[in-house]
């Protein structure tokens, strides 16, 4: 293949990755922005989303589209419920103390991952895409489903934007984010907002996973990669800045696909991890976030 | 470098600090004499805390110069200034809540012992950590609470504990940021006595809202408003100053 078509293919793949990454990174970012905690179990919510998607589509015989649509509804709901419960039971008990929360969510990571290992088994499983059609470029054919992932992710992001900026829930959320004590004084049920935001973050990860499940295999360890990538995106985007995170997800998702075509994946990960750590140390406001005074 | 007048312990020149659009400290020239108690008064937001933060090194100035005992300390980190003898009791009480009262003061005493040497030898009766801690606790009347956790002390006692911790490092210049805030009338009276006891060959900056208290103790009073120095005089002079009356004393 020539360089031109090759780059087009790499960009399409990058765009798909960026689409899913922006969903899961947005979830992590939301939780960090409002609760001021890092959810290390975020990737496991993603993994569980994919596992539920597989199970639902497996259980529903008939057209795979039916299973997919059901999964799109069921997976985020179940995951959201689980996350909400975890927040109310565990994180509230430790007052969302940032350091204790990291330890607790590491524990949650193990519990979720290992429970899935017991229930779902160690094998990777494939899920049928909801529909098959190929878009034929002059140089290669491309999966129509993958293109639709980009569109669906964009639509979901728009919905999130609408909720945050136009609804009462979004208002409560932003008020809590800006000043927790003040929000409490004004009678905002901060505890509930925390639980809901934590659940919303997990649901975004689960949604991303449902979209990706028909493309990638479903496996109990599949949560680690999106966790690290989301971490990177949130840090580079400037901790807690939504606009920064989305921009970073786009850039990183796109470039990751392209870079790993040229470098050994280990070296690429090594260098990018190091660079991101240095960003966090020397430029904690991120590369894309606005500088706060 | 400019020659410093012999009696001046600390002097600032054209000190400035902004926060975004607000100028918290504006062109401040301050000069403290060795051994004086200097009151700093002014309405909320006048820049008093910001000014002493610049002196102690918690904040860096945008421009200007600070000279302490003939040394330009403008660029020095807070801990180095503390070693030169500048101590600071915060406006919001800052102690070690999880440690015992004894350990709280011991942390200060340990620094004093480390620092004792050539220019600042320890006095004979205060050679050991225990002795320093003991004397500071007796001075502040906290001796009874040695083994209690600091967090269990009443608010007034916590403020005293912060003073005791600072006394343990035996400061040359002791900055107290609104020490009587939240204290009862009795406690303020005891506090006045305490200050009189600890002032010997120390220079003290006293930021206060309680005017009778500060007028009673201070040798000189500086009035701040909107980041700048509005007036500076002895307490009597300040009370008569027409500008101070109108802008601050509200008469």
């Amino acid at each position: 293949m020539d360089l031109g078509p090759f780059l087009l293919l790499a960009s399409l793949e990058g765009l798909v990755q960026a689409a899913v990454l922006s969903l899961s990174a947005l979830g992590l970012c939301l939780v960090f922005g409002v609760l001021r905690v890092v959810n290390v179990a975020h990737g496991e919510f993603y993994m569980v989303g994919a596992v539920i998607a597989w199970s639902v589509s497996h259980a529903l015989s008939g057209h795979p589209l039916l299973g997919f649509l059901a999964a799109l509804l069921v997976a985020p709901l179940l995951v959201g419920l689980a996350a909400f419960t975890a927040d109310r039971v565990i994180l509230r008990k430790i007052n969302h103390n940032p350091e204790a929360t990291i330890v607790a969510t590491i524990g949650m990571l193990y519990v979720i991952q290992q429970s899935v290992l017991i229930g779902f088994g160690p094998d990777a499983r494939a899920m049928d895409p909801p529909f098959y059609f190929h878009i034929n470029f002059p140089w290669f054919g491309y999966s129509g489903y993958k293109l639709s992932v980009i569109l669906m992710a964009a639509a979901l992001l728009l919905m999130v934007w609408y909720v945050i900026s136009r609804t009462r829930l979004g208002l409560l959320m932003r008020a809590t984010q800006i000043d927790r004590e003040m929000a409490q004084v004004f009678g905002i049920p901060v505890g509930w907002v925390y639980g809901l935001v934590f659940a919303a973050g997990a649901m975004l990860a689960a949604l991303g996973a449902v979209l990706i499940a028909p493309i990638r295999q479903v496996h109990y360890l599949m949560g680690l990669d999106p966790l690290l990538m989301s971490f990177i995106v949130v840090i580079v985007g400037g901790l807690g800045s939504i606009r920064g995170a989305l921009l970073a997800a786009l850039v990183i998702g796109m470039s990751d696909g392209i870079i790993s075509m040229f470098f050994s994946p280990t070296l690429a990960k090594m260098i990018s991890t190091l660079l991101v750590a240095l960003v966090l140390i020397f430029k904690p406001e991120g590369l894309f976030g606005q500088r706060k005074s | 470098m400019v020659a410093v007048v012999a009696v001046s312990l600390l002097s600032t020149k054209k000190l400035n600090r902004r926060f975004g659009g607000i100028t918290a400290v504006r062109d401040v020239d301050l000069s403290l004499e060795q051994g004086e108690i200097r009151g700093i008064i002014g309405p909320n937001g006048a820049g008093k805390t910001s000014l002493v933060n610049l002196l102690s090194g918690r904040l860096a100035p945008d421009s200007g110069q600070i000279v302490f005992q003939g040394i330009d300390i403008t660029g020095q980190p807070a801990w180095k200034r503390a070693r030169l003898g500048i101590a600071y009791a915060f406006q919001i009480t800052s102690i070690y809540p999880g440690l015992t009262v004894f350990e709280n003061v011991a942390i200060g005493a340990q620094m004093r012992i480390q620092q004792s040497s050539k220019s600042r030898p320890l006095p004979d009766q205060k050679r050991s950590l225990e002795e320093i801690v003991g004397s500071c606790l007796r001075l502040t009347g906290l001796d009874w609470s040695r083994t209690q956790l600091a967090v269990e002390l009443a608010y007034g006692h916590q403020r005293l504990l912060e003073i005791a911790i600072n006394l343990a490092v035996d400061p040359v210049l002791f900055i107290l940021d609104e020490p009587t805030q939240g204290l009862s009338v009795d406690e303020i009276e005891e506090f006045t006595d305490l200050l009189k006891r600890i002032r010997s060959n120390r220079t003290i900056i006293l930021i206060e809202h309680n005017l009778p208290f500060v007028m009673n103790l201070a040798d000189r009073v500086t009035v701040m408003d909107q980041g700048g120095i509005l007036a500076e005089n002895d307490p009597k002079g300040i009370q008569m100053d027409a500008r101070v009356k109108t802008t601050y004393l509200g008469e």
């Binding site: 890092v38 565990i90 430790i94 940032p98 350091e99 204790a100 990291i102 330890v103 607790a104 590491i106 524990g107 949650m108 193990y110 519990v111 979720i112 991952q113 290992q114 429970s115 290992l117 017991i118 160690p122 690290l228 840090i235 050994s264 280990t266 070296l267 990960k269 090594m270 991890t273 190091l274 991101v276 750590a277 966090l280 140390i281 904690p284 | 102690s56 918690r58 980190p77 807070a78 801990w79 180095k80 503390a82 070693r83 101590a87 600071y88 915060f90 800052s94 102690i95 070690y96 809540p97 999880g98 440690l99 350990e103 942390i107 200060g108 340990q110 620094m111 620092q115 911790i165 490092v169």
Partner: protein
């Protein structure tokens, strides 16, 4: 005060004496297990200097363990070094690495510090994979025969003997525990606790808090590194599994379980957790479940750990 110090010293020496006598009654299998645990306890002891005393929660201490492991094993494997010099070399390298990483990572605090240490550790792990020609990568390297014994002070030491390994591990653990005990009960310990409890207050008293934290980092990293070196040398194997996040989490867990900010806590925690995981892995492949549950329960109900809780309730003299 004096009385309580005597009591606590007695307790510590008692624990070490107990470990000294243990092999006389224990079957070989447990001897081997306890040897491993004692080395991991040194790791936890080092970790606790940073976490328990200086209050800095690192999520990447496996990098120091791995650093010692490789710095000891690689010169032996590739250059034919003798065991003692490799061990000393590993300690020096770990100290240097801790100083370097500390100098950079300590510019952050709290959550950022946790993430940064995690990432640095991940970089170390990936490095061991990337240079797998040298390190053996995932599969690791088995150290050659000449590394199974060494001569010191005219004595021949045979590292294939379980007994010898046990007493070397115990010797190292005792030395580490006594060093840590001395430090945390001295001026340095007071400085660490001061920084942990209120850094800005401490700075305003004249302490160079950055330097204090850096000291904790170097001591902690060096102890962790020597644990890694000892592990590699005693069991003649080095591999990149020791650099994984898993090891960083384990050492946190040991410390959290046994008692944050106590000298004996990490040792106790290592014992309990190791046997707990051992027990679980006999019954299920998902033994990491135990780790997860333990982390959650500990942070929720016993954030001070076994000894920390004991100390708070009944034994205030415990260091």
């Amino acid at each position: 005060m004096d009385n309580s110090r005597k009591r606590s010293l007695t307790l510590h020496i008692g624990v070490l004496a107990f470990l000294f006598l243990l092999p006389f009654v224990l079957p070989d299998y447990h001897q081997l297990t306890i040897t491993r645990i004692m080395i991991l306890a040194i790791f936890a002891l080092g970790y606790n200097v940073l976490f328990g005393y200086a209050g800095l929660l690192s999520l990447g201490h496996a990098m120091f363990f791995a650093c010692g492991l490789y710095a000891a094993g690689l010169p032996i494997y590739h250059l034919g070094w003798a065991v003692p010099s490799a061990f000393l070399f590993a300690i020096a390298v770990s100290a240097l690495a801790a100083a370097l990483i500390g100098a950079i990572a300590l510019r952050t605090q709290g959550v950022a510090f946790m993430i940064v240490t995690l990432m640095f550790s991940q970089v170390v792990y990936l490095t061991t994979l990337y240079f797998s020609d040298t390190t053996g990568g995932d599969e690791g390297l088995v150290l050659p025969g000449h590394a199974r014994s060494f001569e010191i002070l005219g004595m021949q030491v045979d590292l294939t003997s379980p007994q010898v390994r046990y007493y070397i591990a115990l010797g190292l653990l005792s030395a580490s525990a006594l060093i840590v005990y001395r430090w945390v009960n001295g001026g340095l310990g007071r400085e660490w606790v001061a920084v942990r409890e209120n850094e800005s207050r401490t700075r305003m008293l004249g302490y160079n808090t950055f330097l204090i934290k850096l000291k904790a980092m170097v001591i902690s990293g060096t102890l962790s590194g020597s644990a890694g070196a000892a592990y590699g040398l005693l069991f003649a194997y080095i591999g990149s599994t020791f650099a994984t996040i898993q090891y960083s989490i384990d050492v946190l867990l040991f410390t959290l379980l046994g008692g944050v900010g106590t000298v004996l806590g990490p040792i106790l925690g290592s014992f309990i957790m190791f046997y707990l995981i051992d027990f679980f892995s006999e019954h299920t492949t998902a033994y990491l479940l135990a780790t997860g549950v333990a982390l959650i329960l500990l942070i929720m109900y016993f954030p001070l750990g076994v000894l920390g809780t004991l100390r708070k309730k009944w034994l205030p003299w415990l260091p």
